[in-house]
Amino acid sequence: MKIPFEKLDKAFENRVRLQIMSVLVVNDRYDFNSLKELLAVTDGNLASHLKGLEKEEYILVNKSFLGRKPNTNYVATAKGKQAFKQHLDALEQFIKSTKS
């Protein structure tokens, strides 16, 4: 059995990162607090993973103000969406190969 591990994206090894990316591929944008609530993670944890994805250029950060409150939104880049799709394809292939 050959496992295409080399095709699995290292950036998505962490589950939170994969979850963040899956939110951003189905939504135009998502804000920090809603992400935190949805994924049930701590501020620090979420922030560090968002940083990681930003460094890979998989997501873009938009900072703005809602009245006086800072409102940070995240958007998936084309590169990020592509990487996410490839990662899922690789997972799918892996499952197929274990079944046959």
Binding site: S22, V25, Y30, E37, L38, L91, I95
Partner: protein
């Protein structure tokens, strides 16, 4: 990575994608109850109209009959009150049952998806409301029910992007029913009972069996 772990991973992705973009704490039960309220309302309305047989008599143009006029006013007042009562009861039931369902799943009701859903329902609904008010001030009540159904259908069609997709078909049916009612406004009460009563009960039951059990 073990295979089971992988399956869990994929299941969690699918779950997050769904929950991040759709409000799924809507309860089928609230649809059923809204339908029941609407049918009760339609029945009361039927009796009110029956008790005032002269209310909808057509007066020849240029003439004005005070008795008919005041009869019409009192009937319309009753009908508006019935409609508001049905609407309020449905909204309250919907909110309570959604809170309950969200709590069972350990989620909050007031989040990004519920805000999106409300906004997308509110725009067509308030537009329809404004149209009805405008018709009301023009003293034209002929198309009230068809307007209600068409704009409610549009609201549901819009809402389906942010909750269960099944709602889309209910929206289309309501739009078609509303348009048909515009051609046959004399059947308005029946259309109201079908659109807001029967269809809600049928759809609520389908949703209940599909998602709530």
């Amino acid at each position: 990575m073990k295979e089971e772990e992988l399956h869990n991973e994929l299941a969690s992705i699918r779950n997050i994608m769904e929950r991040s973009s759709k409000f799924i704490s809507l309860s089928g039960l609230s649809g059923i109850l809204a339908g029941v309220y609407a049918l009760i309302g339609a029945t009361v309305a039927w009796f009110v109209i029956k008790d005032h047989p002269t209310a909808f008599v057509h007066t020849p143009p240029g003439t004005f009959d005070f008795e008919i006029f005041f009869n019409l006013i009192s009937v319309v007042e009753y009908l508006i009150m019935i409609a508001i009562a049905v609407l309020l009861a449905s909204i309250i039931t919907g909110v309570i049952l959604s809170i309950r369902k969200a709590k069972q799943k350990g989620e909050s009701v007031w989040n990004k998806t519920s805000r999106l859903l409300l906004l997308n329902v509110a725009v067509p609904l308030l537009t329809g409301f404004a149209v009805i008010i405008m018709l009301f001030f023009k003293s034209d009540l002929t198309y009230t029910v068809s307007t209600m159904l068409v704009f409610y259908g549009l609201a549901l069609f819009n809402a389906s992007n942010f909750t269960y997709t099944d709602v889309k078909y209910l929206g289309i049916i309501d739009i078609l029913l509303g348009l048909a009612t515009a051609f046959f406004p004399e059947y308005s009460l029946w259309a109201w009972a079908i659109g807001f009563g029967v269809l809600h009960i049928i759809y609520g039951s389908i949703m209940y069996l599909k998602y709530d059990r």
